[in-house]
Amino acid sequence: MKMPKIHFGYLTLFVALLFAPFIVYPVLMMKVMCFALFACAFNLLLGYTGLLSFGHAVFLGTGAYVTGHVLKEWGWPTELGLLAGTLSASVLGLVIGALAIRRQGIYFAMVTLALAQMVYFLFVQAPFTGGEDGLQGIPRGTLLGVVDLADDQSLYYFVLAICVGAFWLIHRTIHSPFGQILKAVRENEARVVSLGFDVAKYKLVAFVLSATLAGLAGATKVLVFKFATLTDAHWHTSGEVVLMTLLGGMGTAFGPVVGAGVIISLQSELADKVGSLVTVIMGGIFVVCVLAFRRGIVGEASALYQRITGR
């Protein structure tokens, strides 16, 4: 009974997204989608494996810088550029993940933050990132040499396709034999070990998957904005993705999308009205979220729905 309703919901949303660029400014929509993808990737780790990475922006940043560099300096085709950015994030995810999963809880979060900061300072110093200036004027190129992505509408559908594909992959992962083990690890790690599973390997695969998709989000974001900056890899961004995920609903498939939508639209609405006060407002939202609705928007909504329908 429940499944068709959810499928219907996704279908409605998909149709709405198809028509969205005619109503809403497409670049804003694309920004929301990129961050939604980023938050979903992060949620795979936090919501379904129980690992709080506090350095996830570094994967977004790596995806962005590598894609930006190969498109601008080496003139690679767009598809290859995306692939390069995404795979670089996977490799970095493998390295950081392998080191971080040796620790648990707060120590895991601290190790990921520390390693992410190390890479961040590498980005500040390295010549290929353009330091404080970042990479500007990155060409969007064409899709398969046919569709010109310089047009915002064409790019919008390309970004939508990427996000839908990635969202499907995350959905598949959550509802796979592997996903079952991840959920078990989240619920009771010691028990999974006692059943003979090498938990570290499962965590590492989840970490790499999450880093890869975060990298894809960064790479896609570069196409949208035509620039890559240090902000992408900054720890603020790592904090923001935590906020998006918690606000939308950690451990719900769709929560991070809602969270990203709310945060990004608020930021773009408020930026020119309240200036730097936006940080204070974000902090306030975080406090309210933690105090009043811990399950996040989607989590609370589905709990309410279940209560009304009596399950």
Binding site: L169, S176, P177, F178, A184, E187, N188, G196, Y202
Partner: protein, 270 residues
């Protein structure tokens, strides 16, 4: 009748010197505090072996050493004659030594059926396949259901584990452990915190699942210990105080002293 017959068969088949698990000089020190002191444990194949002792005697620490959730300071552990002292927890589990925990170890937000299926998933070899549908796990449902039936939980298969009463969670834990068909089951206080009826049920369950396998359990309830164990090892202050069947151990003056009589009187009262 059938239980006692089983027991006879088991007793006869268990050769006196056939030990499934032995430890030699097993010691664990925590910054100078010796929690487990030179324990030489010998668990005979096919038996129900109880590890008892007053609070803080080192029973759970001992369990954690055997399953490598803790690293021993000295000593060796042999399982089926193989030195497993330096193996990892998961490796030991794959050898067939599967433990339960003092506090019920279920996966609270998964269904009862899924709980058991997690354990069965290892045999399928698709545990890393993130691109496959979870429907591919449905082939395991039948086996999972039969395990649930064994522990009397077949009606609760679709329930979320956290919603079950405590005694049933322990039964689910046993079903999950059984799914791995362990040669040696380590049960850490299987009846702790249970009401009278649940204790009885779990005791019968342990008795039932002990066919074809060895069980080593930490247990406080003397009624359970006296009722089903073949051999009892008494630990006190991290060291072995006495060993033998219930009558031998219960008559040991050192054991009586260690317990200050309390548990003994209780056992007699039952």
């Amino acid at each position: 009748m059938s239980v006692s017959l089983c027991e006879h068969v088991r007793m006869r088949s268990a050769r006196q010197d056939d030990f499934i698990l032995t430890t030699n000089n097993l010691t664990k020190e925590f910054k100078g505090f010796v929690a487990v002191n030179a324990v030489g444990l010998k668990v005979r194949r096919g038996e129900i072996h109880a590890l008892i002792g007053p609070n803080g005697a080192g029973k759970t620490t001992c369990f954690n050493l055997l399953t490598k959730f803790l690293e021993p300071t000295h000593g060796t552990i042999h399982f089926n004659g193989i030195d497993i002292t330096h193996e990892k927890s998961a490796q030991i589990a794959r050898r067939g030594v599967v433990r339960s925990f003092q506090i019920s170890a279920v996966f609270p937000h998964l269904s009862v059926l899924e709980n058991v299926r997690i354990a069965l998933q290892r045999g399928l070899g698709t545990s890393f396949h993130f691109w496959k549908s979870e429907r591919t796990l449905e082939v395991l449902n039948e086996r999972a259901m039969s395990l649930l039936t064994d522990v009397g939980l077949q009606e609760y298969a679709q329930m979320i584990a956290v919603e079950m009463p405590y005694g049933r969670k322990r039964a689910l834990e046993i079903a999950t452990t059984l799914a791995l068909e362990p040669e040696l089951m380590l049960l850490d206080e299987p009846t702790q915190g249970m009401g009278h009826e649940d204790v009885e049920r779990v005791m019968q369950l342990i008795k039932k699942v002990s066919a074809n396998r060895t069980i080593l359990m930490v247990e406080h309830n003397m009624k359970v210990v006296a009722g089903i164990s073949d051999t009892i090892t008494v630990l006190a202050r991290g060291a072995v105080l006495a060993e033998g069947d219930y009558a031998t151990v219960a008559a040991d003056p050192q054991v009586i002293e260690a317990y200050m009589g309390t548990e003994q009187t209780e056992a007699v009262a039952h």
